[in-house]
Each structure stands twice: as structure tokens, then as C-alpha cells.
Point group: C3
Chain length 177, copies 3
């Protein structure tokens, strides 16, 4: 799987604050066997965020794009709005699963506004902008990432899987259509 | 209560795969005292799905429409998008409750994108397309279905209920306005 | 913090039913140190609800607006739709947290359609219209209200906080950007 890790932060873009989230995510993705083909730091400008997402999805060969930052309530936090502009399918269940898990740790999780959706065959995830949040959110979605990307690409997620295991997944409700 | 059970599946529409979800839901609805006035299998064509939903809600005398299938991530999965086109009220709480319960059983539940909403006085539910998922989802919503349909029709959900029971429900927050 | 408490109810507007939710919320807000600068009862007219929200956010000096009522399924329940018209940022996490907590008490919570969002620097919350529901919903959001309002106003939520406490919050994922 090819992925892009995009940090959204005015301060990191201007060099005023080191980007700790991007390297943290890159390490997590690589440990999970994902090839990180692109990392970038973009400022909190919704038109620019949307343009970056469109380019990576349409021409960048990325099956997965994870953004970090810009999901909060400050006036400059516009990553969710930029993401909504570019996706054609929304995955509210992944958004809910991330927040539900985070909410077990802190009530402030309810203020996170991250969107999950697909643009064509590319899955786009909004994570908050801190290494700790990145790690927690990635742990929630990791079990389903490969399956999700295969479905988006219209591939059989069970190709090469031992039949008994595939049947188990099918029974779990994951293989319905 | 009159209901329609609509299976959305290219393969079942073409006769390549038997529709197991439709009969499973029909049996569940009838066991719950609901009259199933219509069953159908439609292909994964969003314009066609939307047209079927509109017709059943506006002229079909259905108080409840349940779709099965097309809620996933494959390119042809467009039931949620078709449903969003036809509803005038969305019920995110029913969507969340279904996914939250499913998530206890499998992390793949977070990939389900089912929508719940109302078109006029008709409640529309998107279930995934497998008999097992249909059974699990129905168990989540069954306790509130009759109440929901009555509210949509502007009927008093407590008519005929013993006053003490109605007061209990009112105290539970269900009868506020 | 300055807040408005707006009851949405045809019957209370016409004087046919006393407004118990408004006074209950006012007492809760004041006990939490919030100044209630405006209370009102408006009928279930979406254009009117939207106009009241816009006026209070844009000219009323309110950092927080809480509506009570109109979140259900009856034909006249349109508070969520009116709220969606006026917000520029949506906070699905607060909506989910409220419903998730309510769902522990009654399955009817899944029928509540309350929206949470921001219009400019004003946070807008839809609560159901019963004193009991108001109390339960307020308990869910109270821990994050002050933080949320400060973020919306681009203030540092940690100003005046002991550094160790701020660092604790930052580690909890609340201070990322």
C-alpha cells in the first residue's frame, strides 16, 4: 500500500514549530508495511489543503492519505471542511470509532472534528495534530486499513487468504455487499 | 406497520447470487408484527435506488423501508448516497447505534456507511447486505421502530398505553418535544 | 462566558405548556459560572429558529447558545435543520458523545437528532426538550465547554493555568493543532 502523510499546521509550515506528528505517523505506517511515498507540511489554508488532497489522490498514486492537524475549533482549523470538499464517499463509522476510542481517554476528544472519506480509490483520514493522538487514532483504524483500500480498488480483499479465514471474515459481516 | 424490504445487489439482480438478506429481513419484520407489503431486488444504480425509495415513500403506503446492501466501499456501493438524495430528515443516532453495536463484534463494522433518515412520514434504514448483519442491525433498532414511525406520522406514541407506562417513557426522555 | 438558552416549542410559545427546560438549563449554566444573557421561547418554525440563532451569534454577544426541543421526529421538529443552516463548523463528536451517554439510559436516545456546531465564534448546541434530557446532556458537555469556547475565540485555553496542568492537558491530546 502506498500512502501520503500530510501535516497541516501554520506554525510547522513557517518553521516555528517542529513537525513531530509527521515522523510519528511515517514510522507507524512503515512498521505496518505501508510505503510512505510522500510527506509534506501544508499551512491551514482550506483551498491549499483541498488541492494537495486532490493531487495526491488523482495523480499521486496514493491509496491512503492521512492528514494530521487542523481538526479542532480554532478559526484556522479547516482540515475537515477541506476534506469534505474533495471526498465522494464519507465513512462516518471510522470517524465515530476513532472518537469513541479517544473519548475513553479524555472528554476533549469530543471536540475533534476529523473526517474520513474516499476520493475515487483513495482513502483519506483526518487525524489530530499530535504524535500521541496520531498513535491512538492509527491503532483504531489499522485492523481495517488494508481491507478498506482493497474494497475501494474493487479488489477481492480475500484473495490469497486461507479459505477458512476468509469464511470467518465473511461471517463477521465484512464480506457482504 | 407497513414495510418494504429492498435488496440492493447487482449480482442478486442478475440472478448470479441468491438473495438471502431479503427473506431474512422479511421473516424478522413479520415476527415483529410488521406487514411486508413489498420486496424487491434492485441493482447498485444510485438513480434507480433513489427512484425506488421515492416511489415507495410517496405512493407505496410504506411507513418503513429497509434497504440491504450497497453500504460498503466498493465503487458500486452507493446506497447511502442514493438515500441521502431522498431523505428530508437524517437520524444520525440510529446510524451510530447500529455501528456501535456492530463494532463490539468486528472492527470491520466501522466500514459500514448505512444512512438512516425520513422522507416525509416514511422511515428509511440502510442495512448491510448479509443475513447476519441484517439480523444484528434489526435487533438494535427494533425497540424504537414503532415509536419512531408514530412520531413521523404525528401520532401520539402513547395512545392506548397504560398511563403509568407512558409516564415512565416520558421520564426517560422519549416524550419530550 | 455569556450564553443564551432558547426553548423551541409550539406549545410553550402559545402558552399551552409551561417551559420547564429553559429554567432548568438556566440554573445549570449559572451553577457552572456561565452568565445567561438571554432566554426565549420560539415556535417550531425553522426560518424563525435560524434567524434567532444568527442574531444571537452575530450581534447578541453570546459565546454559547443552547436550544432545547425540536430535535425529534415529529413533522414540526426542525431545530437540527435550522441549526445546520446557520453553522459554519460542525462538531459531530459532541453530538455523538451526548447520544452515546443517553443511549446507556434508553434506546429512544437514538431518535434524538441534535446538532452541535459553531457559527463564527459562537458554539451552538441542540438539546432535547425535557428538563431531564437537558440535565443529562449538559453533564456530558460541561467538562469541555470552557475549552471549546476559548478555542473558537482563538484564545489560549491554557492562559492562567498552572504549567504542569497545561502540560497534562497537552499530553491528553487536547492542545494539538
Amino acid at each position: 500500500m502506498n500512502a501520503a502523510a500530510i501535516t497541516v499546521s501554520d506554525r510547522s509550515f513557517r518553521g516555528e514549530r517542529p513537525d513531530a506528528s509527521g515522523p510519528a505517523l511515517k514510522a507507524l505506517l512503515e512498521a505496518a508495511g505501508v510505503t510512505v511515498v510522500k510527506t509534506a507540511i501544508v499551512p491551514d489554508e482550506p483551498a491549499l489543503i483541498a488541492a494537495v488532497l486532490r493531487q495526491l489522490a488523482d495523480e499521486g498514486g496514493c491509496e491512503l492519505i492521512v492528514t494530521m492537524g487542523g481538526t479542532g475549533l480554532s478559526p484556522r482549523d479547516t482540515t475537515p471542511e477541506a476534506t469534505c470538499q474533495v471526498i465522494d464517499k464519507r465513512l462516518p463509522g471510522m470517524e465515530e470509532a476513532i472518537r469513541q476510542e479517544s473519548l475513553k481517554k479524555t472528554p476533549f476528544a469530543m471536540l475533534s472534528r476529523g473526517i474520513v472519506g474516499a476520493r475515487g480509490r483513495t482513502l483519506i483520514l483526518n487525524f489530530p495534530g499530535s504524535p500521541k493522538a496520531v498513535k491512538e487514532c492509527f491503532a483504531v483504524v489499522q485492523p481495517v486499513l488494508s481491507h478498506a483500500v482493497k474494497l475501494l480498488r474493487d479488489e477481492d480483499p480475500y484473495a490469497g487468504v486461507h479459505p477458512a479465514s476468509a469464511a470467518h471474515h465473511a461471517r463477521s459481516g465484512a464480506a457482504h455487499d
